[in-house]
């Protein structure tokens, strides 16, 4: 085990161009992350479209904790901890459904889908006990941005809007890919488990250096246009929005191509219905720009990764146990595009995906690798000499530079050092 003497000084472990290997392998670091990151900062939980009808529910998570996302009869969305207030049983053991209430099977306590305790069995055993003290626990702060529901276990702190900062614009860009300005999460999730630390997954999402190598097998046989986006001659940029949010902005490459839908490897002619709807919604010129720029490639810290056509949610279970929940993004009002999005997503991601099977292999090999104790550090200095600033003042670098990792770790350090 790569264990350190406690307590660590985070500044000793996280330096501008390198981080210590123990940050990925030490169980004590993982426990500290749960408290300082997962149970404090804003974390993505689910999408409003997953509970589209009154009384719908879906079971989600924050780290290892099971969270029931419900929509009550009046349409309000709630995030309830899946733990009976009596003896701790899960009150819900189905992944999704429609229910006004949840009855714990252990002693038949029944909770409304807004968390209120409605009834307990044999009430004469509870002489005068106030029911309102025994509701299901709620995540203290819940907010949503364009349908994406986030939560924070901290009862105060930055607002969701402050947390998203400049990265909110990437979500604006995402929803504009829909002629109705809305994303839907309706295609079900693949759940891909890896024996690796969650930060190997997090950092890989906006690492533009690996695709040319890790994904060469599929780039070589699939006649995909993706490979060139991540070559040494690419004009795409990596961006650090602050707050741990990072992006690979592929628009410079797509704008060079100047072909609508080229970002998705197709042409406007093959999606006539979609193109017509986009033009009707945004006007011909703006629609053309949107369809050239494409959907973003952005990692919203710590767990929401939007990869153009699909969305991943990272769930850490233990220091060496991580699940990626992944689904095809579905754009409201775009059935012909959505069908292709589902098919392409199934081919590329999940346990048998052409891309993710190789990514997951790298996470796991890296995780085993850092158990060797020398050279101690993960070196993240690529492109430090050529970092720049964009018009809005965000740090940018070459598509293959490690601007995103450095940004993630800078924010990580600030969270871990916070009192």
């Amino acid at each position: 085990m790569n264990m350190l003497a406690r307590p660590p000084s985070w500044g000793d472990l996280i330096r501008p161009d390198r981080v210590h290997g123990s940050l990925y392998s030490d169980p004590a670091v993982f426990e500290a992350e749960l408290q300082k990151i997962w149970y404090r900062t804003w974390v993505y939980v689910g999408h409003e479209s997953e509970v589209s009808k009154p009384n719908d529910y879906v079971v989600k998570s924050i780290g290892p904790q099971s969270i029931i996302m419900t929509r009550d009869g009046d349409g309000a969305v709630h995030l309830l901890l899946n733990r009976c207030s009596h003896r701790g049983n899960h009150v819900c053991s189905f992944e999704k459904g429609n229910a006004r209430s949840f009855t714990c099977p252990f002693h038949s306590w029944t909770f409304a889908n807004d968390g209120r305790l409605m009834n307990y069995a044999f009430p004469d055993g509870y002489d005068g006990q106030e029911r309102s003290d025994l509701a299901l626990a709620r995540v203290p702060r819940v907010d949503s941005y364009r349908g994406f529901v986030f939560a924070s276990f901290a009862s105060d702190g930055p607002s969701l809007k402050q947390h998203l900062g400049g990265a909110a614009e990437t979500i604006d860009r995402l929803v504009r890919t829909s002629p109705e300005g809305e994303v839907e999460v309706t295609a079900g999730f693949l759940k891909h488990r890896v024996k690796a630390n969650w930060k190997f997954v997090l950092e890989n999402e906006t690492d533009g250096y690996h695709p040319a190598f890790v994904h060469q097998s599929i780039f070589n046989v699939a006649e995909s246009g993706i490979g060139g986006l991540y070559g040494s001659k690419s004009t795409a940029v990596t961006r650090d929005y602050g707050g741990g949010h990072t992006e690979i902005d592929l628009r410079p490459e797509f704008r060079k191509r100047d072909q609508p839908m080229s970002w998705f490897g197709t042409t406007a002619e093959k999606l006539p219905d979609y193109v017509a709807r986009m033009e009707a919604s945004y006007g011909k010129e703006a629609a053309r720009e949107i369809m050239i720029d494409g959907s973003p490639h952005v990692m919203i810290f710590p767990n929401l990764f939007i990869a153009e056509i699909q969305m991943f949610v990272i769930q850490p279970l233990a220091v060496d146990d991580t699940v990626q929940h992944v689904t095809a993004l579905q754009f409201k009002g775009a059935p012909d595009l959505n069908r292709r999005l589902r098919q392409q997503t199934m081919g590329s991601v999940g346990p048998a995906g052409f891309l993710l099977a190789d990514d997951s292999e790298m996470y796991e090999r890296s995780h085993r690798g850092v158990h060797a104790l020398k050279p101690e550090w993960i070196y993240l200095g690529r492109g430090m000499h050529r970092e720049g600033r964009d018009d809005l003042g965000f740090t940018v670098g070459h598509a293959t530079d490690e601007v995103p990792s450095r940004g993630i770790w800078r924010h990580y350090r600030s969270l871990m050092e916070a009192p």
Binding site: E95, A187, G188, F189, L190, K191, H192, R193, V194, K195, V214, Q216, S217, I218, N220, V221, A222, V323, V326, T327, A328, R339, R342, Q343, T345, M346, G347, G350, P351, A352, F354, L356, A357, D358, S360, E361, M362, E364, R365, R368
Partner: protein, 163 residues
């Protein structure tokens, strides 16, 4: 209606086909395995239950014939790192039943249990398999294979060998 002898010989032919497929998969004979498929083939590994609609919801694999070919091509590059080194595999195929016949097509069901040894660890996979086999020029081919993993509702490790 088949006679008793006919149904026994059909079952024997089906069984021989499934055992051969299992051997080709276990031994990573990608090309020979690909040649078992018909041109209109569907290779389907659902997620989240037995009866999802693969046209609407995510499956672990939902390959048409050209995507089966792409899968095999990727494996044959030698740079599909999840299979380099290759998993060591042995599977048991059992409970083989002929479920029905229609023209040249034969509906077949079986169970399989697969032991995989990879760099990550040893993993056991268990599945119910549904096939539509077809008589083509006196031999059997696969037109459809659905692999329903027993634990397909859970988070699964990488599944990059031929299942």
């Amino acid at each position: 209606m088949l006679t008793r002898t006919d149904s026994r010989s059909l079952l024997e032919a089906v069984q021989a086909f499934l055992f051969k497929e299992a051997r080709l998969q276990d031994e990573h004979q990608y090309k020979a395995w690909e040649e078992l498929w018909t041109d209109d083939a569907i290779y389907w590994v659902p997620a989240n239950g037995d009866n999802i609609d693969p046209e609407r919801e995510m499956s672990i694999i939902y390959d048409n014939r050209s995507r089966i070919a792409l899968r095999v091509k990727q494996l044959m590059t030698g740079k599909h790192f999840t299979q380099s080194p290759q998993s060591r595999l042995r599977r048991i195929v059992s409970n083989i039943e002929v479920m029905g016949e229609a023209g040249d097509d034969i509906a077949v069901a079986s169970n399989s249990m697969i032991f995989e040894s990879s760099l990550r660890d040893d993993t056991i996979w268990a599945a119910h398999n549904e096939y539509r086999l077809r008589r083509v020029d006196g031999a059997l081919r696969m037109a459809y294979k659905k692999v329903t993993l027993v634990n397909n509702d859970k988070a699964l490790y990488t599944l990059s060998f031929l299942v």
